[in-house]
């Protein structure tokens, strides 16, 4: 205690008082007829992207992304939503910017830095909205897990939004200005950059 030095302990001393407490847990295999408590399959989600494409420069900007995600029983809504937000940001980054560029002549990586291996910055992310599916039909399926699934969809959602905006598909990620302009110029034939 700050006000009473005689009742004060250093961090090290405080930790020593905890002692060595072993963690002992006993469990049993679940009844096959009951729904599982913990599984690794059966998550689902859908994502939507609202983008702007500058057709004179080929630059794509994210206005808004919405992710609706199911992962069975959500133990903590706030951290689950945060996980999906992170997935959206990673997804925007790989959809628009991230690219390892190998030199076709020497084979070296030309952009081993954050200058030309671009990551999305705060201004590149737009508005993110996450909705976790909870309640009847979801909770009783038990804890499934969240992890990577929401990072799969942004590439498709953003590509679809860009195709919807400009009328042609850009068949490569990331959707860089050169590729978007090439797709516009070729009017839907596959861009070759």
């Amino acid at each position: 205690m700050k006000s009473d030095a005689s009742r004060s302990l250093s961090w090290k001393e405080a930790c020593a008082k905890i002692g060595a407490v072993p963690l002992s847990v006993t469990g049993k295999n679940p009844d096959k007829d009951e729904p599982p408590d913990l599984t690794n399959s059966g998550v689902g989600g859908v994502q939507m992207a609202d983008v702007s494409v500058d057709v004179e420069t080929g630059i794509v900007r994210i206005n808004k992304m919405v992710a609706v995600q199911d992962c069975g029983l959500v133990v903590d809504v706030k951290t689950a939503e945060s996980q999906v937000m992170g997935a959206l940001i990673m997804g925007i980054s790989y959809s628009l910017y991230e690219e390892k560029i190998l030199d076709p002549v020497t084979g070296i990586v030309l952009n081993p830095n954050l200058e030309f291996y671009r990551l999305a910055g705060l201004n590149d992310i737009g508005e993110l909205k996450v909705h976790m599916m909870t309640g009847k039909g979801y909770d009783e399926r038990g804890v499934i897990g969240l992890a990577e699934p929401p990072v799969v969809s942004p590439g498709a959602a953003i590509s679809n939004a860009v195709a919807n905006a400009i009328g042609v598909r850009v068949p490569f990620l990331p959707l860089t200005p050169d590729r978007v302009l090439a797709a516009l110029e070729e009017g839907g034939a596959h861009a070759t950059v």
């Binding site: 420069t57 900007r61 076709p104 020497t106 200058e115 030309f116 201004n123 200005p177 050169d178």
Partner: protein
């Protein structure tokens, strides 16, 4: 990093001797130290000029124009002060030139002397990046390389976004060396300071080994000057431009009396486009004339295998800078 000596002179007369044959001037250090860590440059001595008198400050007089000391930071240049109020295009360009942390350190003199961002150069393959008699940029990945002024072996692009704006405003650069005769000052039009090297070992600036940049002089703005700078950047967060245009239009009513159009990130030097300027003179500014200037700016472009898109981006930059200038908007970013 190679070991080096360190000197901190307080008088500009001391600099030339301290630099010797293989010294480097240290100001903000935002570019130099990164180049040293990567062993791209290996000076045997750094001469820190930040304690030298007379290299700082911004001052304006209506008769002589603006004086920008070489040690002025980009942050200082981006502040909307009374001295800078006649040049909003300059403050806008400085504000967009780097992230806040960099702007607080980087100097105007250093911005003029910064080295290209070309990835072959930054990977230690030389400024011209020649291998077995062939240009790595011509044969390899040239998506960010030059589309103008690329007839020779220099295919990198000039990195400054301040220089094109200053050149459009008619700026001069003053260089100083105690070893030079007379006052030691050499003054030249800023566009003459940037040169396209033809051999490895040559620099992209006309700065002698014993010289420093001491100041930039911008003439007072002409009557009815409308200037604007436009950067096409892939990211909204800080990013190097893919194309950049700075325009300064002297207007006579609705008609362009004279024009300067300077392109950035498209050539080994800030590229003065007389063709684009000529397309505007004697005409009103509208969508058609802005587009005509944009087309004229890239009429002589020679894109490489992977950078044809930069021709389109350059056109967008010129068109938007011209239209923004006429509309009284000093800056713009895609």
């Amino acid at each position: 990093m190679q070991q080096f000596e360190y000197a901190t002179p307080t008088k500009k007369e001391q600099i030339a001797v301290l630099l010797g044959d293989n010294g480097s001037v240290l100001a903000g250090g935002t570019d130099l130290l990164a180049l040293m860590k990567d062993d791209i440059v290996t000076p045997n001595r750094l001469v820190n000029i930040k304690q030298v008198d007379g290299l700082r400050g911004i001052s304006y007089q209506s008769s002589t124009g603006l004086r920008i000391g070489a040690l002025t930071t980009l942050a200082e240049l981006s502040e909307s002060t009374k001295d800078l109020s006649a040049y909003p295009v300059l403050t806008e360009a400085a504000r967009e030139a780097a992230s806040p942390q960099i702007r607080n350190l980087a100097t105007v003199g250093g911005n003029m002397c910064q080295r290209p961002r070309d990835w072959y150069f930054r990977n230690g393959m030389g400024l011209l990046a020649m291998k077995d008699g062939k240009s790595l940029l011509r044969e390899g990945d040239n998506r960010y390389a030059a589309i103008l002024g690329n007839d020779g072996t220099a295919l990198f692009v000039s990195p400054s976004t301040i220089a094109p704006v200053l050149i459009a405003l008619g700026a001069k650069i003053r260089l100083y060396s105690a070893k030079a005769s007379g006052s030691g000052v050499r003054e030249l039009a800023l566009e003459k300071f940037f040169v396209i090297p033809t051999q490895e070992g040559q620099r992209e600036h006309d700065l002698k080994p014993d010289e420093i940049v001491s100041e930039i002089i911008v003439p007072p703005p002409t009557k009815n000057l409308k200037a604007s700078s436009y950067e096409v950047r892939q990211r909204a967060a800080f990013d190097w431009p893919l194309a950049h245009a700075a325009v300064a239009l002297e207007m006579d009513g609705n008609t362009v009396k004279s024009a300067r159009v300077v392109l950035g990130h498209v050539a080994p030097v800030p590229w003065v486009s007389d063709e684009a300027a000529a397309a505007l003179v004697g005409k009103p500014v509208n969508n058609d004339t802005a587009m005509a200037a944009a087309n004229a700016a890239v009429a002589n472009a020679k894109p490489l295998s992977r950078n044809k898109y930069k021709v389109t981006l350059t056109k967008a930059a010129v068109k938007r800078a011209v239209l923004n200038a006429a509309a009284g908007r000093a800056g713009g970013v895609s």
